[in-house]
């Protein structure tokens, strides 16, 4: 038989085969344990965790008791069902378990219980017995609380806690609350139990401000939202200004500029974004071309697909797709990075070293995004046009060569410059907004999540607003057909 140290094995005591639910308790020199609900089978098994008394060992002299009512219908389990005790004594080898009937039941650690006892002179007292600790309460708190309350209402009774085998703060608190947080007039305690009730008596309540309904709440909320939006706008402008001021010194000493950070940021926000922008751009190009072709075919205006895709993608779609992708990809990363740096006081560490974080952290990101965004836009637009051309070939039978030779004539070059200009502005905007929200992160995990979300949402909104401004300013540039 395999034996492991620290575990005790119980062999089937009296030919009972398997019962599902009964209780077992064990005693060792170091303490007691009890538990329930496990199968007892012919094969040796490991007693339930709570059973191994702390400090018990295989070589220990531990007495195991099995008692209670098993959930079983087997006839052979009848003695167990009647609640008979099966005392087991374990004496070192796993095979010599000999059942015997002891003269007296040893003091088991019992379930928490209370009962009303009436003395000879007619006086009543509530007697608490068993273990009143958190592990016993875990499953019984509700019913015990109810029964305590019943007895506490009949307030004339005396309380006797001297039979309680185990008490901790949780158990004491349950009793204390039943007493409405006052000592009952007549109370018997062990000296060791005094401490728990003394601690409880000294402990007061937490004053919480009362909640009052506020009829103006929606108005206030609206006002706060408007003010906070204004506040964010000003703060972003301020951050931009601060960055420019702090960077002015670099104009005289360009070698001190954070070139390594800039190049790292270019790589992360630009090179690493090539794949995703291309994939999305290509699909959008195909979809756009497909939908437009369907319409154009009905008017027999097939050749105009070049104009539609050219203007639409180069001037609008390319920059917008790119901005949304970059805001989600790089903007969130920037916010999270700055946020964590703020939480871990890295920003303060930079400041006390005399390194302005605007120059070291924000400038590289703004510059990098202002540089990579136009390039990404060119890239995305190109891939989207290729996608569009492929779709046009399949749908309208316009060859790739004729598509791309027609393109320069259909789309004035100024649209390309407009797209690139948008890229610079969008990139800088996204970086600034992301940095702004990163710097506002409060040192807790929730704020980090919320800040990143606001950063992405706000930068996409800002980009769309900026795009609208572009549309208004350049409404007569580059659209008219020659």
């Amino acid at each position: 038989m395999v034996r492991e140290p620290g575990a005790a094995y119980i062999v089937n005591p009296t030919g009972v085969r398997a019962c599902d639910n009964f209780e077992i308790a064990c005693f060792g020199e170091k303490g007691e344990g009890r538990g329930s609900k496990f199968g007892l089978c012919a094969a040796p098994f490991r007693p339930y965790l709570a059973l191994t008394p702390i400090g018990a060992h295989l070589d220990d002299n531990i007495t195991y008791w099995i008692y209670g009512t098993p959930e079983t219908n087997r006839t052979s389990d009848l003695p167990l069902r009647r609640g008979l005790l099966y005392p087991l004594s374990y004496r070192g080898t796993s095979d010599n378990f000999t059942p015997f009937m002891p003269e007296s039941r040893p003091s088991l650690i019992l379930e928490p219980d209370l009962k009303l006892s009436v003395a000879a002179d007619g006086s009543q007292s509530v007697e608490l017995t068993g273990a009143w600790d958190i592990r016993a309460l875990e499953s019984r708190a509700v019913s015990l609380k109810r029964r305590l309350a019943e007895h506490a209402r009949a307030s004339l009774a005396r309380w006797d806690l001297t039979q309680v085998q185990r008490l901790d703060h949780a158990g004491a608190l349950l009793i204390w609350r039943a007493w409405s947080k006052r000592r009952p007039q007549a109370l018997r305690l062990n000296p060791a139990q005094e401490m728990f009730f003394a601690n409880l008596a000294g402990s007061g309540a937490l004053a919480r401000p009362a909640w009052r309904p506020d009829p103006l709440a929606p108005v206030r909320a609206l006002g706060r939202a408007v003010l906070s939006a204004l506040g964010h706008f000003l703060a972003v402008a301020q951050l931009f200004g601060q960055m420019l001021i702090d960077s002015a010194a670099l104009a005289r000493h360009p070698s001190r500029a954070p070139w390594r950070e800039i190049s790292a940021a270019v790589y992360r926000t630009g090179a690493q974004a090539l794949g995703i922008t291309a994939a999305v751009g290509f699909l959008i190009g195909i979809v756009l071309s497909f939908l437009s072709s369907e319409q154009l075919k009905t008017f027999g205006a097939n050749v105009f697909i070049v104009n539609i895709l050219g203007i639409g993608i180069i001037r609008e779609m390319g920059p917008m797709i790119c901005a949304v992708l970059v805001a989600g990809r790089s903007g969130s990363a920037i916010t999270a990075q700055l946020g964590v740096m703020r939480v871990t006081e890295e920003l303060d560490a930079l400041r006390v070293m005399g390194i302005p974080y605007t120059v070291r952290l924000i400038l590289p990101k703004v510059l990098a995004l202002a540089l990579t965004m136009p390039l990404l836009i060119l890239w995305t637009s190109a891939v989207a046009l290729i996608g569009g051309a492929i779709s046009a070939k399949l749908q309208l039978d316009i060859g790739m060569t004729s598509f791309f030779t027609a393109l320069p004539a259909a789309v004035p070059t100024v649209n390309l410059w407009l797209g690139i200009g948008k890229g610079v502005v969008f990139g800088a905007l996204i970086a600034l907004v992301a940095c702004h929200f990163g710097l506002r992160i409060k040192p807790n995990t929730e704020s980090l999540g919320a800040g990143t979300t606001s950063s992405v949402v706000t930068s996409i909104t800002a980009v769309i607003l900026a795009d609208a401004v572009f549309a208004v300013l350049f409404n007569d540039v580059g659209i008219a057909l020659q």
Partner: protein, 268 residues
Amino acid sequence: MTRAAPVIEVHGLWTQYGEHVVHRDLDLSVQSGEVVSLVGGSGSGKTTLMRQMLGLESPARGSVNVFGIPLHGSPADTLKKIRRRWGVLFQEGALYSALSVFDNIALPLRELRVFEEGFIHDMVMLKLDMVDIERRHATKMPADLSGGMVKRIALARALALEPELVFLDEPTAGLDPDRSESFVRLIQALHEQLRLTVVMVTHDLDTLVSLSDRIAVLAEQRVIVCGSLAEVVRIEHPFIRNFFLGERGVRALAAARAELGVRELWSS
């Protein structure tokens, strides 16, 4: 003869991160009701050993048993029961930053899903009292607390479920001497009243001397000695010499010195 089985038994433990061996064939056992302190140089693997005892790391070789149950290979149900019986104070406190002080301590109690809010409230207040935190701090967020307060609130949270076994990683680091003193007294009182078993990492000699029943010294990737203060200082080892018998050590041990005969020991 009866041999008491330990609450924690670490046997032949190897911890390895890639090529880097932190523990090599380490043995340690902690008996019920005792306070064992882990000491060792910075980076000697004290925190890692504690994480092994908590089942947060898995051993490359060897076994860790807590309450007689192996932490690796036991069913999840059993492990859950063990976890209810211990409390942990992490080196940095590890309070949940999104929850207030009150909610941090209430969390393990609420998780049991048996106690009503009123009970939990009173329980939290009691635990705050036990660690000497004023009421008005209960609504604060962890970020707005001082380092020492974080420590004490983390202890209150560790004690929320009335554990039998408590792990403390540097409990007095970052506390002022007065608070350290009261922290030591608090642990002492809890230990006496609730028969707690305590495993503690500390660099603080005063805490070490006043609390520990046994001291386990971690060096050379294993426990070189685990015994009472008197036994430990008798071992000839550079770390022990520097730690206990350096200038600071001797000062802290001044009270115990006459009794131990340390001076004679090392001057001979």
